[in-house]
Symmetry: C2
Subunit: 195 residues, 2 copies
DNA sequence: GACGCATATGCGTCAATGTGCATATGGGGT
DNA sequence: ACCCCATATGCACATTGACGCATATGCGTC
């Protein structure tokens, strides 16, 4: 029930609607836990049935009414006890690395194109994290409750930078294969590959 | 059907039994795609039904007979066409980061313990990758077909090192919170945290 | 006026995954 | 004798996930 716990984690901050949760999962917390709004609404019903959250309808004009969900004491306790349990090791699932694993039985060109798309993606992410870090955590003091978010951001930033760098190398390496049959050991990244 | 494709990727190298595949998924390819033997056997049946692989029973004495699966031409083509499609962005799901996200509503001690376990895990992994790199890819020439595995290893090594370093920082930061109420901005990692 | 977009909530279906359990045998430790 | 481990295969059930679709309204734009 990890999605449920991720939702509870969001609601520890302040009450939210499913729509707001969906937006949160599309930005901050979504960087390490992906879902869509359908799954969120489904999970919200379940959490409500278990008494972990409470819905309160807010009438709106011009927009559909919304359901603001608040954490109950039981919900807060449930999150706390979940958080105290050892975490399950992060699951990694990356299509692209599977393709690279069997590179000998695949076509190079589409994989190289894939890598170039990834490079852009990771660069964007890195910039985004950097901006958030500079804006919200401008290297002063950090409230203890926000320390985790800061740590997450730092991990994210380093991860994106590292992967982007790797993408550059990988693109160079694949170009070497498709251009000539023979392959030199990897050169340091040339920094001009994607221009 | 991504697990199926990962299995096909393994079988492009040489025929294998479900048991051998399970071991492979527990080591090399499992570093970026996790499963267990149950899922592998189930997927093997499906791949066989679709004609992508062919099973051949090998009678053994003292052990249960085994089923060696070979890629059919159709299977090889299926893998190739899958590999040519753009990859779906890697899904990230990490419990620990969810816990950190809502650190203010959780107990610090078990999370710090978790981080210490992770630190050890990532250090082990880094060492393991390093050993494989030095053993199999001792910086000479690389066959084009093996380039992908080399790239994967390099990514893995950097990833493990980076995360291990981050774990050290995170442990230091959490100790600062639980020891005193106030929190300084993160110090550069001390490199002496873990003995 | 038709169309897309943002707001806001949800259902239904099928594929993929995770978890527990079952079965069969031989070898090594206690 | 008993138990655990390695070898080797697999079923059944439950949860999660992906994807399409539905509904309702107001605003801007073509």
């Amino acid at each position: 029930m990890a999605l449920g716990d991720a939702i509870l984690a969001c609601l520890t901050e302040h009450p939210m609607t499913g729509y707001e949760l969906a937006k949160t999962f599309d930005s901050s917390i979504g960087f390490f836990w992906k879902t869509d709004h359908q799954q969120i609404y489904r999970e919200l019903s379940r959490l409500r049935d278990r008494g972990y959250i409470q819905g309160r309808e807010v009438v709106q004009t011009g927009k559909p009414n919304k359901l603001v969900y608040t954490l109950t004491p039981e919900g807060r306790a449930a999150f706390r006890s979940w958080a105290a349990r050892p975490s399950t090791p992060a699951s990694v699932k990356d299509d692209l690395l599977v393709r690279l694993y069997a590179l000998g039985a695949a076509d190079i060109a589409p994989i190289r194109a894939d890598l170039m798309a990834r490079l852009e993606h990771h660069r964007d992410r890195a910039e985004r994290y950097d901006r958030i870090l500079k804006k919200h955590y401008a290297d002063g003091s950090v409230a203890p409750a926000d320390m985790g978010k800061l740590l997450n951001l730092r991990l994210g930033l380093r991860h994106e930078r590292m992967v982007a760098e790797w993408c550059e190398e990988a693109i160079t390496a694949l170009s070497a294969i498709s251009n000539s049959g023979s392959v030199r050991p990897l050169d340091p990244p040339s920094r001009e590959t994607a221009g």
